[in-house]
Subunit: 718 residues, 2 copies
């Protein structure tokens, strides 16, 4: 591969000039950034590269914050459940919270802003039945009902920025001051944020790109009394909540939010909850505010002739890059961490910015770069999984983070990344702006739709969870697959119907969650629209507990479409006749390995003889298809990510869409290989997604077959 | 063992006199019965044994039934779900039903008695929006909403007795007439049943015991269009339903039942459904009627100087042997089939009869008694499992069924049963009427309570179901364990509180079922009563989804008691810290094998550090204990039956009850062995429940230990 240059960002650090120059050259980098714990000195800044500088808006200015503690950020928290043993129960509402992070807000009247709830009945305890001891931080409920459980929803000041708190505690920073987060919704803080940035831009003329890390509100991250993580929601609006916000919400929306609208039984409206009207309104309210305020800062950056880049993480809450207000911020770029294909697409698909950048793994930190370890292992894995997605829609730049001096000590790693950066530029040149061949258009249907594109099933940015991996595999599979992917909400269907160009709808998730939809499926407009669309030829793929909510003799409301339902115990008296899987089926035609449904679902059974059972074991169905009018339904018990399951999903989609006959267009039959074609340019690429040599039958756009052998990790461009 | 006599019933048959006499002698039998397909001739009847004769009340009299087809039994059935494609949908409501079993009832006005339901909204379709084509058996709904699903609930006449239908079809009885079931609620049928019995008693002077098989209404058994079982509910009141019954219900209870009260979404109020008020009322209404009518027949039997025995099965519906009306029938005896310990206790614990009899397995039929097979295998298994329960509360008699001539050809089997009958008589003499030592009193808590004692988790009399065996194991374990067992309903607790002498409450079942309780747990009186009782020292054992219904931030409403809850996806953001099982625990102290939680439950997590995790694997808790005030909660993910799990359950119960210190009283540490003590008589027995020699440490009533070796299957009496 010939040496190319550009589209790569390196971290650097002081006193590392010569080596930085060498690395810029070898990796073809054209931008340098500081990193957590590093600064760029003037010599480095004078190199032939753009300079990114990390900028914190709402923290890191204690000289201001300490003088305006009344403008400190807030949160609404819920206490533990407290059992009443008699008619009085005293609640240590801060029990379990980290006192260095949060302090009860007694400035605002608890009787106006707090809520005590009887969780046994879900009733609000009357105001005259409870009191607060502000010295000892206790709420006492009188007139309690013995053996009911009570919770207190209470306001706190959040006095320590969560990211700095995490780094501080993890790295034992001792008496280093705690960054106090202030709220730009408050008058002095709003003004300070603007004024300081203006001054900072003047003081930092070498900075080409202001890397906002990020704006105003951190995702919800609450620590426990032992200074360990207690609650983490990468999508959580917890830190946006304040008395002032609720007051302004009421003015703007004409109704007041209850604390319960925020604390939500202690679930805090995680992304797995089907969002309420009140919470949706609140999110919109915050997004509008964040967009307006962020635009003020971005305008200042542009006025100073610099670029504004947003880090997708930390204080990103309210920006919602796929939301309706994001584009109005006027950002030049978004940069985010790439854990695999889905997180790459989460970045590269963001609309309304000039460019996107992915920060690849591994981070140049001692946890990976230590003697005896080979950082290439993680790098290859990260690259191969993200590369699939680059072939569909590339980020415009890639980059790395951490200590460049550390990576420099691993020559094999430096060699490997040299190849990666060249390969990235080649991909980019071949792919960017050229619509790849898509055999199908797939819509992922859930409560969030487009607003949370590529963000389904995530708790804390792509971490593995037992309850999510069997669904997240769908996104990871699709991120690099030759299909168009859109995200559709139940509201989209209610308001606009189902677009004609959709081939297959996927509904996947645990019963009752926002991803399955819970009681949304009781809405007759939704279900009749979906049923009609399938009956008229659409494809519907359900994974896990699709359309699950118990009513009318069905658990899967679309059991009629899927041909299967779940036995809840109520139909044990009804004979289940259909227990034999078909010997062959299009969906499993070239299958070699065992099935892997991950956590799977249980007690699924076929409704009738017309259900095509594809996999049956342990007295239950895990994979089945069903004709429904002119359309088809397919049920899968779970789909953890693997190349086998990616292939399985592709076959499922083609079958559901009734497009089996075009399955062999631009296709490689070895599951480790994939084909991407770019009709506009006439180019196509056959990928070996594995680090071993692979032989495959390759089918071109007409389905003509050719046998090929690919080197480990090879992309064969033609 | 010395030769004894009595308490044993044999089947016999014509032309088998000599051998019958020999068998009477060898097995010490004192009663003879006819059987399905056999008759006793006069010679046999003259032997020195009581004569049982099978008697059918409501079938087997076609000469009467054919003249009174208007008094034929009825059912209310529900059609399949039918998808409307436009505003008219035509429903073949009999589709899937067996036309030789059921015929639509057009005698009574469908517009008055039937119901068409929009299952998408659960709304009743107005009467003027549907019509019936009685020629083609179709219901047409006009004004349908496209892509809604519709069902028809309709009355049928049931023209074939289900047991005869089953035997007829299974045995290819060809053109043998179909037994037509008639309804004694109707005037002519009621009179016929009495008159015929009177005459029959006169005609059958040799009969000592009238073996009613059974009374009026068969458990729900509906066949499909292919003449195969479609729906079977051993507890189902389906065959009791008729127009007349509903009319009389309305008169008696002051309100009318809707068809939906009976068909219940197609679940037909199976025993797994939390019963509604309407269905409970209906059951009571039927029980009162059945008891009144059955008493008329039993009185006739007594007037004729005979005994009345009821077969627990077939047409037993409405008798409810544990219900409040059963005793008033005045039966002398109940006989039922014994599949194991729980089904034995189901018979032996029945109150209000002079004696009970268990029909043991194998049935003397060619499916077991064929050349090359050893019927002893099934016999030993059946005997060992039932024997445990006999040691706690024996039936008064045992018996066998089928062709004695067949069994006679297997001398090894005859030898074995000779030993069994002697062993039974010895057990009976030592145990009957003597309260065995009970270390604990355990209450099984569900919607049914005492009414369905020993009948939990059953669909079709002890058949294995994937969804039940992990709970049924609890009953099977308890049936032979040294604990008192009572069955308690949610209503019992609401109405009477929890009796002081209960040590442990067990709540076990799948979420939403009558055995777990579903929304019953939202009743604050119930939950506060249970919480208080545990807090004051009670033990609570939850298996599967105990107290499960989602509200107030909890799925297990008694999560505070159990120390665990189930992750539904809504608390993924909340860190789960507690993942380490304790190294040792009383509950697992002498455990040798692997854990077996059967189907298990998933995603269970510990709530706090005070939860004692006893088993943790695959990122979830399966066994845990928790202190709650002075009481304790224990969670088990599932408990299929085995000797290991019986031991586990015993330890769980003693731990929950805070009685660990008395665990070693009357105890054998080898899991294959059990001890039963009878303080009144000073006797005790050490059982070897296995067919292999076992060595065990035996602890007497003071906990003094002695090492013993027991022969295969031995009971060591002292």
């Amino acid at each position: 591969m010939s040496k190319t240059k550009g589209r790569v960002t390196l971290p650097s650090e002081s006193h590392f000039l010569k080596e930085t120059r060498e690395m810029l050259d070898r990796w073809g980098a054209d931008a340098l950034r500081d990193s957590d714990g590093t600064k760029l000195d003037d010599e480095i800044k004078s190199l032939d590269a753009k300079i990114y500088t990390t900028y914190f808006v709402a923290r890191g200015h204690n000289e201001f914050a300490e003088k305006h503690m009344d403008e400190c950020q807030q949160m609404l928290l819920m206490s533990k459940h407290n059992l009443a043993l008699d008619t009085t129960v005293t609640i240590d509402f801060l029990d379990g919270y980290f006192r260095e992070q949060v302090q009860a807000d007694y400035v605002h009247d608890p009787k106006k802003w707090w809520e005590v709830i009887d969780r046994t009945t879900q009733e609000i305890v009357p105001l005259d039945s409870w009191s607060v001891d502000t010295d000892r931080h206790l709420v006492t409920v009188t007139d309690a009902v013995p053996f009911h459980e009570y919770t207190v929803s209470f306001f706190v000041y959040a006095i320590w920025d969560p990211t700095q708190m995490y780094n501080h505690i993890t790295n034992n920073w001792g008496d280093k001051p705690h960054d106090i987060p202030f709220d730009v919704r408050q008058p002095a803080s709003g003004a300070f944020a603007r004024d300081y940035l203006k001054k900072w831009l003047a003081d930092n003329p070498d900075t080409d790109v202001v890397r906002f890390t990020t704006f105003f509100y951190h995702f919800t991250l609450v620590f426990n009394a032992d200074a360990k993580e207690k609650f983490v929601d990468w999508f959580g609006y917890g830190a946006t909540v304040s008395i002032r916000a609720l007051e302004e919400f009421e003015q703007e929306y004409g109704y007041a939010l209850r604390p319960e609208d925020i604390v939500d039984n202690g679930y805090y409206n995680t992304t797995f909850r089907v969002p309420t009207k009140a919470y949706r309104d609140y999110m919109e309210f915050i997004q509008k505010f964040v967009a307006r305020k962020a635009k003020e800062l971005v305008d200042l950056v542009h006025d100073a002739g610099r670029e504004a880049m947003m880090f997708l993480g930390d204080n990103w809450i309210g920006t919602e890059p796929y939301g309706p207000y994001f584009e109005s911020i006027g950002l030049d770029a978004v940069v985010g961490s790439v854990g695999g294909g889905a997180t790459l697409r989460l970045i590269s698909d963001i609309p309304g910015v000039k460019y996107t950048e992915g920060r690849f793994l591994p981070y140049f930190f001692p946890d990976t770069f230590y003697e005896g370890n080979d950082p290439c292992v993680e790098a290859i894995d990260n690259w191969l999984s993200a590369r699939r997605a680059l072939m569909r829609n590339p980020v415009d730049r890639i980059g790395y983070g951490g200590y460049l001096s550390l990576a420099y000590k691993f020559p094999k790693f430096v060699d490997y990344i040299e190849k990666v950066t060249d390969e990235f530029r080649l991909i980019y040149d071949n792919v960017k702006g050229k619509k790849p061949y898509c055999g199908l258009k797939v819509a992922i249907l859930n409560s969030w739709g487009g607003l949370r594109s590529w963000q389904s099933y995530m708790v804390a940015h792509a971490l593995w969870y037992k309850q999510t991996y069997s669904y997240f595999g769908i996104l990871e599979s699709l991120s690099g697959a030759a299909v168009d992917v859109v995200f559709m909400s139940f509201d989209d269907i209610r308001n606009n119907g189902i677009p004609k160009d959709i081939d297959v709808i996927i509904n996947a998730g645990d019963a009752g969650t926002a991803f399955s939809g819970g009681e949304e499926w009781l809405d007759e407009k939704l279900i009749t629209t979906v049923r009609r669309w399938i009956h008229e030829g659409g494809g519907f793929v359900g994974v896990g507990d699709p359309s699950a909510v118990h009513r009318g003799g069905r658990f899967f409301q679309l059991a009629d479409v899927l041909g299967v339902d779940k036995e809840l115990g109520f139909t044990l008296s009804t004979d289940k006749y259909f227990k034999d899987a078909l010997d062959t089926h299009f969906i499993t035609e070239d299958r070699t390995g065992c099935f892997d449904f991950g956590e799977s679902r249980h007690d699924i059974y076929a409704l009738s003889a017309s259900t095509e059972i594809i996999e049956y074991s342990d007295n239950e169905v895990h994979l089945a298809a069903n004709a429904y009018g002119s359309g088809r339904g397919v049920y899968i018990a779970g789909l953890p990510y693997s190349y086998e399951n990616t292939r399985l999903l592709m076959r499922v989609l083609y079958f559901a869409a009734h497009k089996e006959e075009s399955f062999l267009r631009w296709y490689a039959d070895n599951v480790n290989c994939e084909v991407n074609a770019y009709p506009e340019s006439g180019k196509y690429a056959i990928l070996n997604n594995s680090n071993e040599e692979q032989t495959t039958n390759f089918y071109d756009g007409e389905g003509t077959c050719e046998k090929l052998t690919l080197r480990p990790c090879e992309i064969l461009w033609r």
